[in-house]
Amino acid sequence: MKQPPQKKDGPPVASSIAASERIGVDRSVEKERKKDLPPPRKQFDDESRGGRAKRRSVLNQPEARNRVELFRHLPPHKNGTQLPSLESKFFELHEKHPAVYKVGLQYLAGDLSGGNARCIAMLQAFQEAIRDYSTPPEKTLTRDLTSKIGGFVSFLIECRPLSMSMGNAIRFLKSRIARLPLTLSESEAKTTLCSDIDRFINEKIVLADKVILRHAATKIRDGDVLLTYGSSCVVEMILLYAHELGKQFRVVVVDSHPMLEGQKLLRRLVVKGLSCTYTQLNAISYVMHKVTRVFLGASSIFSNGTVYSTVGTASVAMVAHAFRVPVLVCCEAYKFHERVQLDSICFNELGDPDAISKVPGRVDVNYLDNLTDKQKENLELLNLKYDATPSDYISVIVTDYGMIPPTSVPVIVREYRKEYLLI
């Protein structure tokens, strides 16, 4: 039976799982490897593929005003104004589990952000949904549950496009469901799945973070000036851990409009007693003279070593490279992806364009209020969420498998990806 087509670049699980079910659960490793090659992603403006998903979409499509031509292949941003309409539709969406619904709302409103947080929240919501799940008569557990999960995923994609970490986690979950022995009863299957999800979260995220902390803390010396960009939970943990170890260092927090995530990180660091300097992205050439190390987080790392992370990371890495400052990227291994991306345009996420024109807290610079229609038709606002940093700017990647150069990423993907699929 057909899975509902993913509207965008979701993990290529749908076709591969359907194929595996046809052939059988145990198959040779080579065929699996071949099927794991991601098919070309469905682009947003591709009518033939995206049409059915659009019809089934729950949220209204925002109007096509100010759509930048270059990014027509990406779905437009759905901002928080959709919340009331989505809430009103709650009782119509009875097939969506309330936990999943709640997580979707949190994504839409922007309350949950950050690869790890979103992934953990999504997996825990799926856990609850699985616990409450009961197989309808005349259907097998694996197929029905997989299709339900697929439905949840497409709902979450509508709220906010998936991050790479979430995509990998979903792929893991679906493969676990597919591998359930058919002899298990329903309750046993459900508990197995829930414990698998727990193990995934524990091993791949929580413990991985601890290992990364220990590795990265060895790279911080007394008297260092560390620079970080935006707000990454891993980097924050590293800084606090090193501070607890008693190392003396200063932190430079670099921030950018419109997300201004650095302010939250800044507050948390200052509360713990680290001495910090705060500045905006434009001033990095000014501060980079004094910086000794740059720590960056990542949303994902691709097979050619390109780091996919918050927009602006590429600029920071480039300037650090120009000033001969080492750049350390800290990323758990479950976020690696075998895809290759050349630049930031072929795959990205569009944020709220109106967020650019409004500057919070500063009334004097709101130049873009009260535009006439003629002005509006010529003006486009572009708010990208991610960008791709070329691998030559990265010195080392700190993962739970150790500290590796960017060229070793495909090795990790190849060797260790199979490990958790075969658990």
Partner: protein, 381 residues
Amino acid sequence: MPDTQALVNDFLNKLKKRKIEGSQATAKQTAELLRSVISQTRMPYTNQAAALIHSVKAVGERLIAANPVELAVGNVVRRVLHIVREEDLSLTTAAMAGLNLSAESDDEDDTDRDNHPALSAAAIAAASRSTLRPPSLQTLLEDVPDSAAVPHTSSSGGDSEGKSKSADKSSRSRKLKHDVIEAVNELIQDISTCHELIAEQAVEHIHQNEVILTLGSSRTVLEFLCAAKEKKRSFRVFVAEGAPRYQGHLLAKELVTRGLQTTLITDSAVFAMISRVNMVIVGAHAVMANGGVIAPVGLNMVALAAQKHAVPFVVLAGSHKLCPLYPHHPEVLLNELRSPSELLDFGEFSDCLDFGSGIGAPLLHVVNPTFDYVPPKLRRA
């Protein structure tokens, strides 16, 4: 003199308090101020040029000290001094050429006082030699004014010649002032029209269907792009907003009002978009003698990205921005830090910024530089 003093003090205050925005406005006001200083300077009979130079230098030094980062002030002062010297030189050479060549005597100390032309010629020759001659090392080290050399010769002539000479000299002095003020007017004119002259070259550089990137807001860039638009070149512009002053928003508004296709992007997205851009055009605050550029903050990042993607990086600057100084440690010495309130709201962060709570050292610094230094090798034109 008193009212020029008042004008000078007023201008000094404005410079110190950073009330004047933009190097063009500063340059123009400096030039106008110097013009009034020159017109008010009392010219002695001998060596007027030195007197002018002295008064301009005195005012100029105070102006430069008031705002050392605003290099346009120093540039204008130097140009006015250059004008004075040039005008003086051209007057003396004209006078020398006008007089009979046969009547010239090369003698400096003892001149033949028989005929007026000869004497005037000698005096003029002496005067011109003093202006032509670069100050000798002795005069520089001992700070002996240049004009001391000349009165010896001309005073001996002045008493005997009397009226004719003084009339000659006063007419020459009036002419010198007049010429200088005319030249300064031309300078002011140049400063005002620099945008048009630069914009005329726009058509050579911008072609059809190009994509141009710029950051922040510069009037020169605006005129440049609009001139190209007038010539019916259709192109698109990406404007990076230029936090924390967000001047990019202003520029984007101006551009769409004039009908240009504009896309406003965040500064963080510059690296992402620059691969699709044909050219980067920016304005500058000042251009140094080694070719390095003092530009609004963030442009070093853009220049590095442009170099990585082999995109031409073009800087537009009026002639009043060309500075003969070499930059030494420009990020610190030629930079200014603005208020941190542009980055962090004091109200929100008052708990972190509160130094008096007993923790000795302040935990939080906020850095908000105004300018960036772009080294010459990153700049294409």
